[in-house]
Structures are given as C-alpha cells and as structure tokens.
Symmetry: C3
Subunit: 309 residues, 3 copies
C-alpha cells in the first residue's frame, strides 16, 4: 500500500495508512528480535544538508535495528552541493547506491523536489520551517502508545505556537481524530497563526481554547506538549518578565496535573522543563525519542515494502 | 592475481586484469544476491582528506552491498592530519583496523605514499588533479556494458580537455583497445595537452580529430563523453560568447545524433547537459553512477582476494 | 561482573577486572572468527564532541569486528550541542537508540556527567586533559602481550611527563603491579607533577629514577614509552638546543638498547621517533594500535555482558 511512496508532508498519509504504520510499530516494540533482519541487504542514505544529530541518528538506528545498512552525509559542506549540483541530480546519484533516502534540507520544498524524479522512496527529515513529518508520526505514536488510542483526550500545547512547525503539524494531524480538545497556551504575540485557527480548528468544528498561563489549565490536561519560548520572540521586556515562569514546567505545576497526564517534548529542551521532573513517571519525552526510532522502523519497512519473513 | 595489490594509477592494471574486473562486475550485476555476503567480516576504511560525497558513497555502497562494513572520515578536519601526522603513519594505523582503504587526498601522490608501506590494499579515490582510477574504471565498464565491448567505436570527448584529469585518464585507458576513433571537442585554448596528443594518441597511431564545435560531429559519435567548460578558462569574452552554446548538450543537438549513441558524464553536471535530455534513453550518466558502484564492488573483491562461496 | 558498568577513569577497574578484560582480548586475538557475530543486533554510538580519528575508528572497528553496528557523530558542530542541549539530555536520547556509547569531549568530566543518568554503559574516549582510559588499557594489553605479564620489568617513560595525561594514567595503572621499576626521562621543567611522585610512586614504595637524557639509561630498559616534547614547553632556547636530540629516538640510541626491548608510543608521532626505526622488530607502536582495537573489543563485550555463543 505504501511501497515505493514518498513521505514529504505528514498529511501525505491517510488515517488508515498511519494506523497501519502504528500497528507495525507496536509489533516491532513487542518483538524486536523478529524484525532484526528484515532489511538485510537494504541501504538507507541519510542526506542531511544541515546537521541534526537527533533526527539523523534516529533514522540510522531504525535502519540498523532492522538489519539494514546506512550511508550518507551529515552536513552540506561534505556533500556535492558545494560543487553546484542540484538536489535533483544528487538524489539521482543517491538512488544509484541506496534503496531509500531520508533528507534534511534548510530550504523548504527541497525534499519534495528530490522526490519528484526519484526512483527510490524519499522521507522528508525536515525542510526549513516547513515540514518534519517523522516528528509528527513520533508524536502520534507516543500519544497512541500512552493512551491506547488517538481519540478522546484533552491536549495542552504550550510555548511558541506561532513559529513552531512541529506544533502546526501536530494540530493538523490530530484534527483528523475524534473528540480531541485543544488547549493552546502561549503569550498573546505567539498564538497560533490565523490559518491554523480558521482552516483547521474552526473549519473542522474542533473544540479549542487559547490562554496565556499554563497554571490555569494544568488540571484539565491528559497530554501536555511542551515547546520552547525564546526570549527574543517577546515584543517587550515587561511581558517577558510577567510570563516567562508560566512556560517553565516544574514540580509545582506538575503537582496540579492529573496522575496519568503525559508530558511530551520534541527535544532538545533548554530550560522549559526543569530537570527535577525527569524522574516523574508522567515525563514521557525520553520515551518519545524511543518511539521516534520505532515509528521510523515501521515507516522504512512500509515504504520499502518489506515484511517479516 | 590482484589480491593484495594497490590501485593508484588507472594504468596499474593490464587490459587482462581490467577484463577480469569487468567480468566480475557483469556477474554481480546479473546476480547481486549471490554476492550479498562475500565480504562479511571485512572492513573498508574511506579516508577522505577532502570531501567527495559521490565517490565516498559509491565506495561505501559497494562494500555494504558485498556484506562488508565501512568506517572512516570524510574531511581532513576530522582526521589526525590536523595533529601533524604523516599520511604514512595514518595509513599504518588504518591498516590496524581495516582490511582495505579508499583514499582521497588534495595532494598529488599522497595515496601512492600511503600505499608504499601499507600492509592492506590502497585504492586511490582521487589525488588532486592527478589520478582518479575508479572513475576511469567506471567509464570503461559503462562503455563496455552499453556496447558489449571496448573496441570499434567513435567517441567524442567534449569540454575542457586541457585540465580535466578524468578525460586524460580515459584517453590513456582507451588507447589500449582496438579501433577506437577519438573526436576531441574543445575551445582552442582548452585542447588536450601536447603530451597526450604526442605520447598517447600519435605514438600509438590512433585515429583522432580535434574540433571546436560539438554540432559539427554529433552524427558521427557512438559515445559522447561530456565535461564542463568553466567560463574562467576562456582567454577572452568574445570566444566565450561565440562558443558557449556549443558545449551545452540539448534536445537540438541530440536530434542530430545516432539512435544508439550514449551520453556519459562523470558528474556532477552544472548546466552542460540540459535536464530536458535526462529522459532520453541515450542519456546514460545516471546509469554510469550505478556502474561506478558495481565496478568498485568487483575491484574490492579482487583486491581482497574474496570469491563467491 | 562488568555488565552495565561505565568506564570513566582507568582506575574504575580492579586489577582482577582488568585481567578478565585482557584474557578475553587474548582469546579474541587467538580466534577472531569466533567473535565475529557476538554483538549482532547491538549498536555502539560514538559521540565525539571533538575530532579524534584514531580513537573513534578504533572503537568503530572494534564494534564492527564483533558483528555489531555503529552510529554517531565525529565533531560538536554536527551534534545537538550547538542547540544548547546538555550532555545529559543528549546521552538520554542516545540511550534511546544505542546499546553502548563511547564519548569524547573537550571538557573534563563531561563523560562522567553523561554516565550519571545513562541507562546504557558509557566509555570515556578522552575528556580534555583528564582521562583516556582505553589508551591506558591499550598500553597495558600491549605490555602484557609483549612480555607475557604485567610484572617484573623496567620501563622508561620519555618526553613531556608534566602535561601528558597518557603518561600519568599509565604510571597510576602500573603502580598496582609488582616489581616494576620506573625510569622517568624528561627535561627538568617537564618532570612528573608532585602528586604523581608523592601520592603514587613514593606512597606505594615503588622504585623510580628521574633523569634528563635518554642515552644514559637506554641499556637498562625492557619497555620504552615515548611521547613528544613540544618546543614551546621549554623555558629557554639554550635548554631546548642542549636537550632536543635526547628526545628523538633513532638508530644510534636503539643500538644501545636490549635486544628484546619494546618501543611504545600512543601516536600520533611527529618526529620523536625516527622513521628509520619503524622496521626494527622492537618498534611496537603500530602493533599497539592493533592491541587498542582488541582491548576495546573485549571491553565492549564485557560492558554489554555479551559472551561467545
């Protein structure tokens, strides 16, 4: 079904297709040994035109844990881009060597251009401020694993909701599931863009609320998705001083939360989650990194059309 | 026969030895699965003192597709060269870890120095403007695969014939085969160096012709080997304006060519071949990249003395 | 016994634990084929926040020769450190992907911090001027292999004994074995630090001697451990001119040495050992590089708790 396809935008996959990926991820988590050789003889090329250790290593670990092999580059300087080659030509060469490619690029749309002529599946590993579909798949698999399903919960999304591509993709992706309430927590100047509010949330009749302070809604949340708020994004110093503590998750705020709430974060964090939370059983952000590897394992298998023997 | 040998200069191998490499490449292309484990337990070290993604990944894909493993570095900054270690000493250390080494170096002769004391085979992956023998092997295998043999054809070699090491090596290599006619297409100031004309072409009594415009000979060619002409190489602007279109291959020029002509290019290309040609069945430059991987697979097997079980 | 442990300081392992690592290394050297798959399905992450090709490739070769796989980064620029992530957080993410980690870091103590919360074993691959335990293990295995035991010999340690972390660790490590005499050869201003002299050598009642000229003791040595003396370390030009030749090992000095003396060097060398010595059977520094790979193979197996099937 997904064999030979590309993954450029998280919405490229239907809810049913996503579910088939997640089910396979479940099985891999359950019995990793049975999948340890399914990609034997297959090569993944990681073409990273800008560094992203976390994402690159997640793809590489995924392929290696399936018994496949990996080759590639981790920054533009070590690639032929420096010699003026087009992404399209580089992709054609990569396709001569590898069976599947994960590409990260600072320019929006580059992976899409690469995919246009590519005879092998291309996975967008992040293109500028645009898309990062495997992060969205990671977020969905994590929620699904923690709650058993992707419906019927209240999610708080906290931080810089204006510029965060991760957050926009997550809202779009969740808009396709039933009975989810969104609580959007951000400073006034960093609220979600109008097109998300109007084209996604309102158009689909979703329940949502926009507020300024995390403390005010902490006890309502089933999921809390944290992201960073950079000081430079505030319009004035007064706002920053007044609000900054609202965007740092600490023990005090966790004490207001439900006992089974889950805290997610795409990582890396700087100080928006206090390390004193790390051992709280509700802190799920490091588990999330592991789900990121598993969902990529499932995705690679699906796009290659590989099955368990 | 080749076990334990180094490959520094494309002429290090006799015509018979080359033929044995090409025959093995044929078999690998025919039955890749039978070669998927022949290098199990063997390590290739890619020592790239300057970045070259295409060449490095071709070597790595070759070794991985033989079931071997790869380690190495992709630029001088990440190597011990920065600490003042000689290439010879680095090679001795690499030989402690790996079974075979592919080395690229900005200094001419560096791989030869490395090979002098090395207990493991060293393959020159390009040394400055000097040699790049696996590119020459790639070119030969591609021609041989497309035409079934390495004799009896007319080859047009087009572009900067003065500074292109790829072109010089190719002419030398082809000079050992029968009944090849060379048509050398370049601006006056970028003609092949005298030593190639006198020591290789004339001395061996080869048929050749030097002309300025690709259009004039298009219909005679069985193979067209394209390379880039950089604007900076021209002596004056008038020449550049008069000639530049002659060195860009497009649909118009292709319409003058034989139906079974093959277009080769060592890549990366910039604009010397129009992308409108890419889907022409005569465009063989991306296939060539794939032959590059196969010929390296055969070469690695031969130098390691590994055979199909 | 060592399963799940970290290796941060060479003294983290008891003499008995070291012996178990060395015995396993012996067996691997004897029958490498029997260990070629013991780490199948295991991943090593090499997290190198500063480049060190020799050490990184040694770890990678070790893991690959055990049938495991490798992923990681070779400099800080290509890691998430650039985004302000703590070493602790990076380690938690790495632990989601890999089974064991080798970390090099320019800051002293960084691998120790990484190890504190890490669910997977962390091996210190060098932290600033502080520790480099696998170099010490390499030195010990080499001596043990060449002499059959780690007791009863006279070792000359020559060069910059003040700033060389390798040398300090080696003295500490050897202080736990019986009947070793130390001859410490250095310029006055580069003698071992007081704490090594008093806390290690004197406190343990070890026999040692401090001299200025290598020539004077050459004939007494069973092992000569060479390191570099940088010109900048000398207090004055006169001393440098008077002494510099004493710190270069050449044929003349080798002619004064015992027939079974062994020359070691942690590499890279610059000119402190003349290349004319390289073919002398007593030159053991390239063998030492190979022992470095074998001791890392044994160490990885022990920390992972992996055994020969």
């Amino acid at each position: 079904m997904l064999k030979g396809r590309h993954l450029i935008d998280p919405m490229d996959l239907t809810v049913e297709e996503l579910e088939s990926v997640f089910k396979l991820a479940d099985e891999i988590i359950e019995n990793p040994a049975e999948y340890a050789d399914v990609c034997k003889g297959k090569l993944l090329s990681t073409c990273f035109y800008e560094p992203s250790t976390r994402t690159r290593l997640s793809f590489e670990a995924a392929m290696l844990r399936l018994g496949g092999q990996v080759l590639g580059f981790s920054s533009a300087e070590s690639s032929s881009a420096a010699k003026g080659e087009s992404v399209r030509d580089t992709m054609m060469t990569i396709a001569s060597y590898a069976d599947i490619c994960a590409m990260r690029h600072p320019k929006e749309g580059a992976p899409k251009v690469a995919a246009l002529n590519s005879p092998i599946p291309v996975i967008n590993g992040g293109d500028g401020g645009h898309q990062h579909p495997t992060q969205t798949l990671t977020d969905l698999l994590t929620i699904r694993a923690l709650r058993g399903k992707l419906t019927d919960f209240t999610i708080g999304i906290c931080g810089d909701l204006k510029f965060g591509r991760t957050v926009h993709s997550l809202i779009k992706a969740l808009s396709r599931y039933d009975n989810i309430k969104f609580i959007l927590i951000s400073p006034e100047e960093l609220k979600i863009p109008d097109y998300i509010r109007e084209e996604i949330l309102m158009k689909n009749g979703l329940e949502f609320q926009e507020i300024e302070r995390l403390e005010d809604v902490m006890n309502e949340l089933d999921i809390l998705y944290m992201t960073r708020v950079q000081k430079e994004r505030f319009f004035n110093e007064a706002d920053y001083v007044r609000l900054k503590d609202s965007y740092i998750l600490d023990k005090d705020k966790m004490s207001m939360a439900k006992q089974d709430m889950a805290v997610l974060h795409p990582l890396p964090r700087v100080n928006e989650i206090s390390v004193e939370i790390d051992n709280d059983p509700r802190a799920a952000y490091f588990k999330q990194a592991k789900y990121g590897m598993y969902v990529r394992m499932a995705l690679i298998m699906k796009l290659l059309g590989v099955e368990k023997c």
